[in-house]
């Protein structure tokens, strides 16, 4: 075997092997769906919020993200933690994170530490201040129960485009 052939084989092994082992274990599939969150006026004077196809997003619009986890394997998946950095050029909309069967925590330091809203603080001009929704850099959902084989769950939150 020539050196060239050997190095090609080595490269193949390096790239293929991890992927093979990954596929063998990866059974939870993750999908992010996005929507435009709009307020629709009804005839009786009230309004309701709808999640629609995200066409023509402009500054000030709200974008809803739904993250769907599905266990496509044949074993239960435990200790599921979902993490979503709040996208650039958007701010988290206060109180919008949802997820049945999950505890929701936030980060104000790009995901280094997480806590519930009342335990989050920022330092501004040397003063420690309670963090507000616009300070959140990451949203984390810690699922409180396992996802059995074939089961599906979803969480969601809303951002506003700056």
């Amino acid at each position: 075997m020539t050196n060239i052939k050997r190095s090609i084989l080595k490269a193949l092994l390096l790239t293929v092997l991890p992927a093979v082992s990954f596929n063998a274990l990866a059974q939870v599939e993750l999908k992010t769906e996005m929507f435009k969150v709009v307020e629709v006026q009804k005839d009786n004077g009230t309004s309701k919020i709808e999640w629609i196809t995200p066409n023509n997003i402009v500054p000030g619009d709200r974008v809803g993200y739904r993250i769907i986890v599905e266990n496509k394997g044949d074993k239960p998946a435990d200790d599921i933690v979902l993490n979503n950095p709040v996208p650039e050029n958007t701010v988290y909309v206060d109180g919008s994170a949802r997820g049945a069967n999950s505890s929701i925590v936030f980060s104000v330091d790009k995901g280094n530490t997480y806590a519930t809203p009342e335990k989050l603080f920022i330092i501004q001009n040397g003063k420690k201040l309670p963090a507000t929704a616009k300070d959140y850099s990451n949203v984390r959902w810690v699922l409180t129960s396992s996802l059995k084989a074939g089961e599906k769950d979803s969480v969601q939150y809303i951002v506003q485009v700056k």
């Binding site: 990954f22 274990l25 990866a26 059974q27 939870v28 599939e29 993750l30 999908k31 992010t32 769906e33 996005m34 969150v37 307020e39 309004s47 309701k48 919020i49 709808e50 999640w51 995200p54 023509n56 997003i57 402009v58 500054p59 000030g60 709200r62 974008v63 993200y65 993250i67 986890v69 394997g73 074993k75 239960p76 998946a77 435990d78 200790d79 599921i80 933690v81 979902l82 993490n83 979503n84 950095p85 996208p87 650039e88 050029n89 958007t90 909309v93 206060d94 109180g95 919008s96 949802r98 049945a100 996802l147 969601q156 809303i158 506003q160 485009v161 700056k162």
Partner: protein
């Protein structure tokens, strides 16, 4: 919509009063969102990412137009080219030009003949046809996000109007993108496909849908105008450099036009801290060629050294009579 979504809807409803500030994220910017998951299967921890969900921010067309005149604008009857000042600000997130329209509003005493609109050259001074070019609605200048232009909207005031008659004029700004698309009266949320910057769509904003303002002309049978010019600088060194100690001469001209008498006309000139009247209250203020003392109470001219204000009581002036000219010399401190 399932029950879970309905619950979300109710809770989020009250948050819609939040507003974004400034022009916002530029048209064409992509917002990419990738979620990640970690979990355990058979004792191994596995992590994975979702495919990114990508949104491109479209161009929001928003604009404000605001009258810059404080209160009603006094005009004569008749008067040619009476000007109103407006500021047009692009509050959208992309470059946009605007078509400016002016109309007479009803419910007042008279209508004006709408005339030329001028684009201010940046100094905020009305210089029609010289420094300020005619605003061409067929090729209006593009305004960057958050930038403003100042325009002068001119009108001709009809003859034989009575004192205190008013005329209201409305000036509006329409997005050129929508105008070019044949949408002369777009509503918030209307779209021009591919009409935005960076091949985005142009979306009409709520601000753009109400982009107009009004200003009111009021006929004043008599008008008093004061102008101030520097008549000369003597630096006491044989030159004319405005250095400390230099003497700066000023000339104030008071002109009364129209018909009737202007009573209790008082010219007042508060000098900046850098200047003081030469010799202070012992100095001289010349009114229509007559030297008066700066000290208060002995004649119609006075100087207050604390506020550095020169005051001349000109009394009653009949419209059309010769200009009143006030001259004095100051010293740079």
């Amino acid at each position: 919509m399932n029950k879970f979504m309905v619950l979300t809807s109710l809770l989020v409803g009250s948050l819609f009063t939040l507003q974004s500030h400034g022009a916002g994220t530029s048209a064409g910017t992509t917002i990419s969102n990738t979620a990640s998951v970690s979990y355990e299967v058979g004792g191994s921890t596995i992590t994975d990412d979702s495919e990114p969900a990508v949104i491109t921010v479209q161009e929001l067309i928003n604009v404000t137009i605001v009258s810059q005149d404080s209160g009603n604008v006094s005009v004569s009857s008749p008067e040619t080219g009476a000007e109103l000042k407006f500021q047009v600000t692009n509050t959208g997130n992309g470059d946009e030009a605007f078509i400016i329209n002016q109309v007479n509003i009803g419910g007042d005493e008279f209508d004006v003949t709408l005339s030329t609109i001028y684009l201010d050259d940046g100094d905020g001074v009305y210089e029609p046809g010289t420094d300020d070019a005619t605003y061409d609605n067929s090729t209006p200048s593009t305004i960057a996000p958050d930038d403003s232009i100042t325009i002068w909207v001119t009108s001709n005031i009809p003859d034989a109007r009575n004192n205190n008659d008013t005329s209201e004029v409305q000036v509006s700004a329409l997005s050129k993108t929508f105008s070019d698309d044949g949408q002369a009266n777009p509503n918030a949320g209307d779209v021009v496909t591919d009409g935005g910057d960076s091949t985005t769509d142009a979306v009409y904003g709520t601000g753009a849908a109400n982009a107009d303002d009004t200003a009111i002309f009021v006929v004043s049978a008599i008008q008093v105008v004061i102008t101030k010019v520097i008549s000369g600088i003597d630096d006491q060194l044989g030159g004319s450099q405005p250095v400390p100690g230099a003497e700066v001469g000023y000339s104030l001209t008071v002109t009364v036009t129209g018909t009737g008498d202007a009573t209790s006309v008082t010219a007042s000139d508060p000098l900046p801290v850098e200047l003081a009247l030469k010799a202070g209250i012992a100095g001289t203020i010349t009114v229509n060629g007559v030297d008066l003392t700066a000290v208060s109470g002995d004649d119609s001219a006075s100087y207050d050294a604390n506020t550095r204000t020169i005051t001349v009581d000109l009394g009653t002036i009949t419209a059309g009579s010769a200009d009143s000219v006030i001259t004095f010399t100051t010293v740079i401190q």
